[in-house]
């Protein structure tokens, strides 16, 4: 996906193009984001971020910024306050909604391309996602924190995103993708071990790591279907790993 951002002054445009490069382009966008700086901070406690979605129309709020739009028209309005011109939290939610329309989702995960196929590694904070990305060597890292999964005939594709983690901007340098080889839920250990998860385990482990407003029943319903499709199409493991480069030999042996 590539986004075009309109309505920004030159300094904000430079910031957005640097922060989200190579996911922001002035040409041939998947979605156009119209930004208007109309919101201002008000005193008092900030309300919780909220998101609603109905028949393709969505509205997001992460104080003091708001976004809304019709995803079918591929045009979205961001009304932003002081701070980043494209609030990363809203931008990530927007990407989550766009993916949801096609049966995909954003997962709290890192991903590395090995022999042309992507290994994805998920888990809560400090489970080892960035550590594994750091072990990639010459292999391409799609991201160390947030990976997009899109359904394709026969499986899923893992796609890079601009939402990097503690590895910093170097973990989001390319707008690349690769067929998903497998997904692993991480556990740090002294040695390597793995166990293939059942479909119910896959969905139960992945559900909390998906970046969407899951308190909306329609969103939760759709997400269950998407994760069930992932569980059916892709091998998913629980992986105990030691932070050593032999990891890739071990993964090769999983067949």
């Amino acid at each position: 996906m590539v986004f075009r951002v309109t309505g920004l002054g030159a300094p904000e445009r430079r910031w957005a193009e640097e922060r989200y490069a190579p996911f922001v382009s002035r040409r041939a966008p998947s979605v156009t984001v119209e930004v208007a700086a109309t919101e201002r901070y008000r005193p008092g406690r900030a309300p919780r971020p909220v998101a609603t979605w109905s028949n393709g129309h969505f509205a997001l709020a992460s104080y003091p910024s708001r976004a809304d739009g019709d995803l079918a028209r591929r045009r979205v309005r961001f009304r932003v306050g002081p701070g980043p011109a494209l609030n990363p939290e809203l931008f990530r939610l927007l990407c989550g909604f766009l993916l949801m329309r096609e049966g995909g989702f954003l997962l709290h995960a890192s991903a590395v391309v090995d022999h042309g196929r992507a290994w994805a590694f998920s888990g809560p904070s400090a489970s080892g996602k960035t550590t594994i990305a750091g072990l990639a060597g010459d292999r391409q890292v799609l991201n160390d924190e947030t990976v997009a999964f899109r359904p394709v005939p026969g499986g899923f594709t893992a796609c890079a995103t601009p939402f990097y983690g503690s590895g910093g901007p170097t973990m989001a340098r390319a707008n690349a993708r690769a067929p998903l080889r497998a997904l692993c839920f991480l556990r740090k250990a002294d040695r390597f071990a793995h166990r293939r998860l059942t479909p119910a385990e896959v969905v139960a482990r992945a559900f909390p790591e998906v970046m969407l407003p899951k308190r909306d029943p329609r969103v939760a319903e759709r997400l269950l279907a998407s994760l069930a499709a992932l569980a059916e199409a892709t091998p998913v493991y629980e992986l105990a790993f030691a932070p050593r480069a032999e990891l890739w030999d071990y993964l090769d042996g999983l067949g």
Partner: protein
């Protein structure tokens, strides 16, 4: 619980059967309930039309355990679902319509 007069009904919450297991999402509480194969079957049978007695009868015909064990487990499980507000339990005599 009077198992002949209690008719459990699933609330309208997101859920999905995966193989023989199931997951139920409590969106308000932000919780995910994994159900094993017996729990998934009981959940499916909580349609508001069957009494707890009838649910126990169906499950006893499909799983290898004594009816007494299944009854005790099913009643406890349905009560836990009710406590979590995932099912409501209507009380009526068999033959009474809702």
């Amino acid at each position: 619980m009077d198992s002949a007069e209690a008719f459990p009904l699933r609330r309208s919450v997101p859920w999905r059967v995966l193989d023989t297991e199931a997951l139920v999402v409590d969106v308000k509480g932000g919780l995910l309930y994994p159900l094993n194969s017996v729990g998934a079957r009981i959940w499916e049978l909580c349609d508001g039309a069957r009494s707890v007695d009838e649910i126990v009868g169906v499950v006893a015909g499909e799983f290898a355990a004594s009816e007494a064990t299944i009854r005790a487990d099913a009643v406890e499980f349905i009560e836990r679902l009710a406590d979590a507000n995932l099912v409501s339990i209507e009380r009526r005599r068999k033959g009474e319509s809702r």
